[in-house]
Symmetry: C2
Subunit: 337 residues, 2 copies
DNA sequence: CAAATTACCGAAAGCGCTTTCGGGAAGAGG
DNA sequence: CCTCTTCCCGAAAGCGCTTTCGGTAATTTG
């Protein structure tokens, strides 16, 4: 591989000139630039990123903090879509993603510490738990940052329009004739969960529908199992809902399971509508009607907001709300008379 | 944050001593070490990774090359499980993962070049396409490397026991009374696809079963759609199979879809068994019986093989075959009389 | 043709850290 | 009391690169 010293020796120029040639400085003649570039090609020269970063204070790396309640990491069917799209968008600008461990040679350290250690140019956090002390710390720091799926005042955020999504869901069920609409919700400590609850309440109010006792059930952290349990509670009610708006697709899968196990049919007996539009719900029975969150757009928006800060070299506080839409499949039907 | 110079100034020792204290050299007294460590804590000192790497030639970073035919990246339901487990295993040892872009400040470069540029300590490649020139280049290099799900002579590899998996599947169907067993295969250019074909042929031969014309159909690159199309070809046959072994779960989903669309029932009319055991197949109807690949173990094994090389500081060539097992669910039934 | 630009190049310092090597002080041994 | 170890510490070089600043040589201007 070699260094600029080797290049200097080989071409007869100083390392200064070599470096300048490589970096397109204009105070080097075309002739010498050509010579140096050719020599570089011949010896497969590649600049050492660490040396460059050390001297320029720019690492071309973005730190990723990825964490969610269920500890599935990159297997998370919604978050991994965002990361993938984020990766594409930042890759185009020449940035690499680094997934930091929280372990620096036996000494354990926080994400912030690790990111400082690595001297990343920016941070993206994809984390549902707003209370996470690690996330708080990152948000307090002065490194450019963007957080996804969370609503915070003091840094750039991108999330999808949960209020509107919930409203879409409720209105859709309403138009199918449903009046007894329950909501299986995500935990309120998660912003997305809270927002969808709010959207549900708002929509119900707008439609002049009462939220009957027991119709708003907290199902925790969006897992299949929690969804199932929540639905079971709903099925114990004397006054059962005819439709349920579920705050996440995974939970909705559990919901449908519970309904089926009770000998009831989706959507003939109970309609269910989910949230997210993760891939697998196209393959279950019935195919799930849901509110689609656009992971591609979310990832791209996150990349944009971060790149903006990194080039401006200052922290900005912009919020981007990504529109959602309803995807009609087969899990909702007109209410039975 | 500060540097060791600041620490030296603050404590009155030389930067040499500071560095030594920080790195547990024994030629520094306990007293001075304590002073330095305390000062470091007070000023939130963190070593600069780039400076360290530059001087030690060790970056504590592992380059990840992740690529598959369908361009879904981290959304790939099987590969992302492997990455996640790999990440856990390497994280414990203090390594960070870096997802390199192929773009260095407008100049585009190969993964190998990028990894050299970043001076990673090792590389993990998760890529199904053996012919990929990028992968070839990586394997030819002298950086420690481990490749997953591929069979190569000249570097460490880990993959699961595809031959045995195929045999398990075929034997299982056989025991259910099936004799007309077809195989919807992955492309032969993908090692996993080729191995499962081989396992299928072997198992059929061992059972003295003929592979009837049209019973071995290439479905390409493991997508739902391709699986569906392949099954349609099978359904056009005069002599239809009673069971089909599908080389991947996603394809199996398409297969089941095709069967249902033809008005037939799984498993009553046709049994289908998949491969991988990705999460979503627990939620489809019927729940898919499959051959489970242990992504956790694969990821861990990959980490082990790579760490081994990185500490030995030389390239090794070890191969690890991870056992598979059959997971019985509801998509297979005894053959109809 | 002298003076003033312009074009091109290199010395040197600096980024933050590690590591070799040598030297002084303190303790051990005779 | 002198010598030999042992214990601590620091000077200095080096990792590979960038960037400022100054200095020739070549070119233009009046």
């Amino acid at each position: 591989m070699g260094t600029i010293y080797d290049l200097a020796k080989k071409t007869g120029f100083s390392i200064t000139t070599v470096s300048k040639a490589l970096n397109n400085y204009k105070d080097v003649s075309d002739k010498t630039r050509a010579k140096i570039l050719q020599a570089a090609a011949e010896m497969d020269y590649l600049p050492n990123a660490h040396a460059q970063s050390l001297s320029t204070k720019k690492s071309w790396a973005i730190g990723v903090m990825f964490s969610e309640a269920n500890e599935v990491g990159m297997k998370h069917p919604f978050f991994n879509g965002i990361i993938e799209s984020f990766r594409h968008a930042t890759e185009e600008q020449g940035y690499d993603l680094i997934f930091a461990s929280r372990n620096l040679r036996n000494r354990d350290m926080s994400y912030l510490e690790h990111f400082k250690h690595r001297a990343v140019d920016g941070i993206v956090v994809i984390c549902s738990d707003r209370m996470d002390e690690q996330v708080q710390e990152l948000m307090r720091s002065d490194i450019p940052i963007v957080v996804v799926d969370m609503d915070s005042a003091n840094c750039s955020v991108v999330y999808s329009d949960n209020i509107e999504g919930a409203r879409l869901a409720v209105n859709y069920l309403y138009e199918l004739g449903h009046r007894k609409i329950a909501h299986i919700a995500g935990d309120e400590t998660i912003d997305a969960g809270a927002a969808r609850i709010k959207g549900y309440e708002l929509a119900m109010q707008e439609l002049d529908l009462p939220i009957r006792p027991g119709y708003l059930v907290n199902a925790g952290f969006f897992s299949v199992e929690e969804g199932k349990q929540a639905m079971e509670r709903l099925l114990e009610l004397d006054d059962q809902p005819t439709a349920v708006f579920v705050a996440g697709d995974q939970m909705a899968i559990g919901v449908i399971e519970a309904i089926h196990e009770h000998g009831l049919h989706v959507p003939n007996d109970i309609s269910v509508i989910g949230y997210d539009d993760i891939e697998m719900i196209q393959y279950i029975t019935p195919k799930l009607t849901t509110i689609r969150q656009d992971t591609d757009e979310i990832g791209e928006a996150a990349a944009e907001l971060l790149l903006e800060q990194m080039t401006a070299k200052e922290r900005l506080t912009e919020r981007r709300v990504i529109p959602v839409r309803l995807v009609e499949r087969a899990s909702c039907a007109p209410v039975k008379q």
